[in-house]
Amino acid sequence: MLTTISLAHYMVLSALLFGIGLFGVLAKKNAIAVLICIELMLNAVNINLVAISKYLTPALFTGQLFAIFVITVAAAEVGVGLAIIIAIYRNRLSVNLDDFDWLKW
């Protein structure tokens, strides 16, 4: 039982990684740290996609293709996210998310 790796093993690993990423997103002060933790969550989803592609539909490759699209979107998201953080830093001289309160009243 311990030596055969099943789909559930990958699912639990992915859930752990997603949880760690979610904790970082919710509990971090630095905007870049939040961006990094979003990357961790997207990677957890990728593990799930590839594992399901192997164990349930080995011949279709849709899971792997979708993982490639997720990687594309994640790369675009990091680029735009960093640009937004740099633009905000120019205005506020801070990357602390608690300081970003323009929409508060």
């Binding site: 002060k29 630095n30 961006l35 990728n46 593990i47 990687i71 830093y89």
Partner: protein, 173 residues
């Protein structure tokens, strides 16, 4: 025999991934966090190898460990000032966040452990690159083109956002 080595590789890679992800969240210096993030991404590429996804493993190392980590390091160097040792702190919502995460973990772990997953009918075909290319450029060609446009839009948007904006402000005043 092969199953044992796959299991050993899985447990080693899983331990590396979880520990490095925890270090990413827990460390106080954000540059160290990003370095551990690179470790996490590379071992995730190894995990994709155990899942017979060799093309995806290469893409993972190239795009995540190569491009994304370096880009984040450059972003940090462009904006951080002062003491690097306290650049990655927790806010005061740690307990609420831990509660939400515990809930997510319990639900996901329970569902993953109790769902009766079907065992694999047959092995993954050897030619992963050919198979991915075939469906990417036939059945999923429109999402492929949309992804290309998305990358272009993100490129232009990132340049526009990160550009110096003083002249535009002076003109508006």
């Amino acid at each position: 025999m092969e199953g044992i080595w796959t299991a050993v590789a899985f447990y080693l890679l899983a331990a590396t991934i979880v520990v490095s992800a925890l270090l990413v969240v827990m460390l106080k210096n954000i540059v160290h966090s990003v370095l551990w993030l690179a470790v996490c991404f590379v071992s995730m590429g190894g995990l994709f190898l155990t899942l017979d996804a060799d093309f995806l493993a290469a893409v993972q190392v190239l795009v995540y460990a190569g491009a994304v980590c370096i880009m984040v390091v450059f972003g940090i160097m462009l904006i951080q000032r002062g003491n690097m040792g306290s650049t990655n702190l927790f806010n005061n919502q740690t307990k609420a966040a831990a509660g939400v995460v515990a809930l997510v973990l319990v639900v996901c772990g329970y569902l993953a452990a109790t769902t009766p997953w079907a065992s694999p009918a047959f092995a993954v075909p050897e030619k992963t690159v050919e198979s991915i290319a075939e469906i990417m450029l036939t059945k999923y060609v429109i999402p492929f083109e949309v992804a290309a446009i998305l990358l272009l839009v993100a490129l232009v948007g990132a340049i526009f956002l990160a550009k110096e904006v003083k002249k535009a402000d002076a003109h508006n005043d």
